[in-house]
Amino acid sequence: MNAMTVTPVEQARPVARYRHFRLPGLRRFSALYLWAVFLILFGWLQFHLFLTVSTFQIVFSQSAVTAVLALAFLVPLTADTYDLSIGEMMSLTIVVINWLTLNTRLPIGVIAVIVVVGCAMIGAVSGFIVVKLRVNSLIATLGMSEVLSSFQLYISQNHQVAGSFSSLFVDVGNGKVFGIPYLDLYMIVIALVIWFVLEQTPVGRRMFAVGGNREAARLAGISANRIIWGSLIGSAAIASLAGVMYTAQVGAYTSDIGQGYLFPALAAVFFGASQLSQRPNVWGTLIAYFALAFGIQGLTLQFGAGAFWVSPLFQGVAVVGAVAIASSRGALGGGGDSRAIRRLLRSRTAEPAPQPPLQS
């Protein structure tokens, strides 16, 4: 009897050992696989165009700004707080910098610092609304987003605003070293700083704790309010940095910038949250973002420059798909009792209800 019950142990072990030799998990690294699929697929379809240095340079230089914006969204999301105002925050930064170069004699460096600090203060206002007025962050930052877009309209009078920039500043936004755009280096530096704070310091640990269980975090002695407030200040400042990068690269402000950038950023963060550590994380976000960016670039080449409808379609599908993956993994929301309730609903609706006898 004893010998018989022991045998399953021996049988089970080789399975566990065998797992070590498998490829990186399909789910935790799905973005990498997707990236590879795009490279192979479009490399095959667009043999002469896609797998070229210029494709990589185009994607990487176009993507740095949005990737930084994605990181801005990521920061409060770790504490389960949404900041939807980052898109408008970025375009407000752009219009204000342009306007200031036209209307003041301040050096561009000073202007950039003033604007980033100013945006951080706006982030503090969002934090006040979320923490003190207890408005759901989704609603608070959506409202803030509208307010910021009205600021832009007031400043720009709904016209293009093209400031005058020194050649040095233009160089800062467009230079390359060993073929790598400066902008990507800034992106890497910002990503490293955020990674360090989130993954290596007590502050980051506390942010994840608040994101996981706010009430327990409070009882464990963490000031959840301060964490959420700070994370919204952080997201505003990072979004503003993305705006500075955009201004250095492109220069002029047009009124359609903000929202167009918000969506790809969200898609990358949600997709990235299903990757690697399977919670919102820096490298997952970047990998997811670039996988999607290469897909868009490939589709654009495939359908020609006139196919401007390609990228929103692709991104819409991508964000829903990514969140579907993340939700089915339980990476976002819906734990605990809601799972039990779902189970109950499944079981109760699976069969016709017995006619309950009326008992007294």
Partner: protein, 519 residues
Amino acid sequence: MTLHLTRLTKSFGGQIALRGVDLSVGYGEVHALVGQNGSGKSTLIKVLSGYHQPDPGAGAELDGRPFQLGSAHAARAAGLRFVHQDLALVLQLSILDNMMLGRDYPVGLAGRIRGRVAAERVRGYLRQVGVETDVGLPVGSLSPAERSAVAIARALSDTGSGRMLLVLDEPTAALPSDDVRRLLGTIGRLREDGHGVLLVSHHLGEVLDIADRITVLRDGRVVASVPRGEVDQRRLAGLIVGDSATAGDAAPAHGAGQDGRHQGPQLRIRGLRGGRLTALDLDVRAGEIVGVAGITGSGRESLASLITGGMPHTGQVEVAGTSVRPGQPYRVQRAGAAGVPGERARLGMFPNLGVRQNMTVSQLDRHLRFGRIDRARERGEVSDWIERLGIVTQGPDAPIQSLSGGNQQKVLVARALRMRPKVLVLDDPTQGIDVGARAQIHEVIERCAADGIAILLISTDSDELARLADRIVILAGGRCSRILERGPAVTAKLIDVSQLEANPEPALAGLAQGAEGEK
């Protein structure tokens, strides 16, 4: 025999959770399943409910008809009903809506819900489990006891007119003792109505009270399956824990912390008011364990949140001479008080973090090096705690939800202890955990007292209070009604009785006959 399981084996990777388990439950029978955390109880229930697939070779039949294990649908179709520990209630919805969840409402003209008819139907089932309240109340406003009853009533409503086999997974874990009695009454009634009940429980007392047959699981094996009359509590505890220890049933030599008593109190409470408490004075000196008991509604349930800061209050709370203000848990901690919160999942755990991060979250500065957490050292400390408290886990980085309830609780205890507190506030620290883990946590509490920590032990477990506390404060109606000093006369029974006697008004209907001694 009606439900019949044979040779049920279940392994996860290399770990075997169940080894050739045979189990039978008949109609008109209450069959209790007991065992420590990790003994395979939960796995067995999960296989039954279709959450896990058993290893090949297992057989199951109900009423002589075999059914497929590992399928939720097959289990249901065969007639099995489950009430799990998480009750699957939507707190925002009314009792009525919860009872009708996933069911068709009786409708009238144009699809309008016929509320009165539905309510009448639902009330019939609620009466069977002894709940008599407005079915329009949100479930969130009910006591834990009533919530469990609603979940059971819902399972009843699913059976139609036939007999059912109900699996109750630790239904009493979250209940204070007086409500446990009511629930046991309900279970007895189910038996009389000819239903079969498989009851999973940690409370040996209630198991011995109600069960017709008791099956003990240890390390995934059935070590005993006996009719009620053949075992007593001591023997049962021995079977559960194995030959290693008989759960330290003897009262421990507890002369701890005598020296500290001459100093002033480490925890001093004056005129505390908030939640259900109206006025409480309380002192706990270094090395002293002060117990707090009281039935639901007496104020006992809010005391921990009031002290460790979660809840606003008036009155004075002093920790080691520092007056702390309400609503600021981190100030309370800095003053030297640590707490182990009562509802583990809701107030204690971070499901997205691992064991290590869950343990160190309250004090992250200890392993700081150049602004960064030194993970190797952090891991080292966590491993130490894992060893000291005997936490069963795959390692310091295992996901917290892979641990059993008792071991999760030990992680929270470690979180509190590693802050080297002067005052430790424990809110029902052994609620819903097994005999072995309970004994280990008791040992830790005593060690802490011996080290000079002032301990406030708030508990619904009278046996625990009798064993550990130097002084027991009985709460009733929001204030202290009686203080029992430690002595041979203070037994679990006395504590139970004083809680009931002390209470001026029974918190729940149906309790009155239990509290005859009032006035």
